[in-house]
Symmetry: C2
Subunit: 404 residues, 2 copies
């Protein structure tokens, strides 16, 4: 008689954004006349850039002829894409990462969920609190997190590193040494970040205690300040302790196009065992490559035209971020983030819980945001708005919030 993976049953409720979608759906059905503005889920709204569209059409045409048709992709991704990533995202920033340390995938969500698989179930994870829920949830599913306490909303075997206004959203080294440290910088959901010298301290710490940092740099394109690192490999020693996750979703609007990559340096080892080899084995056995046409679209992001167009797109969203941040400030809110990231993190007013504020904002302003508590217990009393809406909607949402 077959049995299921009981770890799945430990997961409390369903995935945060599915919950939000259900609440919004219910509200929408009950109030069909209300026009809802969605600044909740971090989904983009601007179309793909012209250079990407042009490249996609060209790649589609290649697939129409036997001579230029592409079947199975190379296990780790096409060289044309990995080479250009290595050059643009790493060599040009002074990072020592080669093309064969880059694994192309269908997005950072999959990679951030799958990466834990190459580690022992006995490893202890540390996460910033609040943070993107996928890190903890996928470790729950793997049986790595112990038992859940519904009162504190924490797992017995997870080390939480609170990032709140009190510590300026900078995680502190935990008392107990973790084995795997998830860092998302710039942070989702708080939109805050740390400096290169602060990250260097984390790299030194990880090397000292023998931990691996899983560094999620999905939002690096939004960094506007000079002393904020775009890659963990800007820090010395990161090649022996860090895996980096990257996404095309936010810098190029690929949320519905799906492309990402993971960097596993060959110097990252457990004794004799190379983590690069383990991840390559997982890629080769459980994955079959991102579509050729999508990898070509990824390549287009790094052309001169592509880069210029994407810079404009990022600027468009960051203008929204500024609108939200200043609008909320004017309305009397305490706000964080929004300078090096497309997320604005606000303190809920009048000691409302995050979900109370969610309902309040949905009901009174017909604006959807994301409850901070959905990202971890220290997110309670906070709320996330994203800059990914259209500028018109962002302005209208701010008007509505100011009029509350």
């Amino acid at each position: 008689m077959f049995k299921i993976n009981d770890n799945y049953l430990k997961l409390p409720g369903s995935y945060l954004f599915s919950n939000i979608a259900k609440k919004v759906d219910a509200y929408s059905k009950a109030h069909p006349d209300k026009e809802i503005i969605r600044l909740g889920i971090g989904d983009v709204t601007q179309p793909l850039a012209p250079k990407i569209i042009e490249t996609l059409h060209e790649a589609v045409d290649e697939m129409a002829h036997a001579e230029t048709f592409h079947g199975y992709a190379p296990d780790l991704g096409y060289a044309f894409l990995r080479d250009t990533i290595a050059k643009n995202d790493y060599k040009d920033r002074g990072c020592d990462i080669s093309a064969d340390e880059i694994f192309v995938s269908d997005g950072a969500k999959c990679d951030s969920g799958n990466i834990q698989e190459i580690f022992s179930v006995d490893n202890k994870i540390a996460v910033c609190d609040p943070v993107y829920p996928v890190y903890v949830d996928t470790n729950v599913m793997a049986g790595r997190t112990g038992t859940y306490d519904p009162v504190t909303e924490t797992w017995s075997d997870v080390i939480y590193m609170p990032c709140t206004a009190e510590n300026n959203f900078i995680p502190e080294f935990p008392k107990e040494a973790p084995d795997l440290i998830y860092l998302c910088i710039p942070n989702n959901p708080t939109g805050t970040t740390i400096t290169k010298s602060q990250l260097q301290e984390w790299v030194d710490y990880a090397n000292r205690i023998g931990a691996v940092i899983i560094y999620d740099a999905a939002y690096e394109a939004y960094i506007s300040e000079d002393d904020v690192p775009h890659s963990i490999y800007e820090c010395e020693g990161a090649r022996t302790c860090a895996i980096e996750l990257r996404s095309f979703s936010k810098n190029a609007g690929f949320t519905g196009t799906r492309l990402g990559f993971t960097v596993v340096p060959k110097d990252l080892k457990a004794g004799d065992v190379s983590l690069h080899a383990l991840w390559a084995r997982r890629h080769g056995t459980k994955y079959n490559g991102a579509p050729y046409i999508i990898q070509k679209a990824g390549w287009a992001c790094y052309t001169e035209e592509g880069k210029a167009q994407l810079k404009e797109q990022v600027a468009y969203y960051m203008n929204n971020a500024k609108t939200i941040k200043e609008g909320l400030k004017d309305a009397g809110f305490t706000v964080f983030g929004g300078v090096n990231a497309p997320y604005i993190w606000l303190k809920t007013p009048d000691k409302m819980t995050s979900w109370e504020f969610f309902d309040y904002l949905l009901d009174k302003a017909n604006v959807v945001g994301t409850p901070g508590s959905g990202f971890g217990p220290s997110g309670e009393g906070y709320f996330r708005l994203t800059a990914f809406g259209s500028h018109e909607n962002t302005l209208r949402a701010m008007e509505r919030i100011k009029n509350l």
Copy 2:
């Protein structure tokens, strides 16, 4: 100090097709003048059908405008695709499967590797021998297979169901009751299949012992005989014991385009727990949907134009299968498969091992095939050729083999 997932270290050698690629590369470099014909890996060579190309272009254009742009896809896939799958692949064949039991993914390799995750690590798996290596390898990585015996090339906790010429390639119920039964029908690599009444016996068996059948129907489009089932849901009782995996790779040439789906009926339960809910949770937490433009391309496969064009494409490959099968017979080989599947399975001559024959064929005919032993111990002494080459290359490969 972090530790790795030791189960990965148990895997002997690297993934079969990576090994073949390395051997062919080495031969190619040593003999740059030789023109190699690849009938090894099951990769298609014909371009995407015109209707698919047209639809891809249209979908790309949609991504170019904010009004028609698509961001994150619905968790389980777009309704336009799931609805048409439910109608064409199931309702029209008399199978009771609804659209919300269909989970769209980026391919059957990922799904067949990931599906084991929702089951307990204590479950015992049964596999046809020989079979697609991903089933066993992904269970090894999960720690479900016990210890490896390098002499017999078997795992202590895997139940092997030999499928050889002796039993007409029909798996027999194992002595020990398995929890998970992987069936790939039509079979990869043997190209053989079983009848609907034989499959019904497996469904009855699984329901009787409380096992789940993971039914890989990736090759169903190649079925030419009437009494061969296209879906396990043609059998009575399959809704309570079977998960079905489907691919667009072989019927529509999507090996480099990436699309597949998995069916988990809502009646499939472990006590109160619905496997549908578990798989939905995995999808929602560790996956972010197939690209919109690719899902549109999948939809195009089910239009009247698409269906007609794909029927032609399948016929093209099956003509190759016939060429290979008859060519090999004429050359004195004992051959199987090739009637309901694009694979031809041959007995190696002169008691050569599968790898000996691989080297022999590569060296003497410059033809690449796949050693049967790579698919399991009972594949030893057999060899796989695929019908996915161009017709010209297939004819030339047969000429070369006849002249050996």
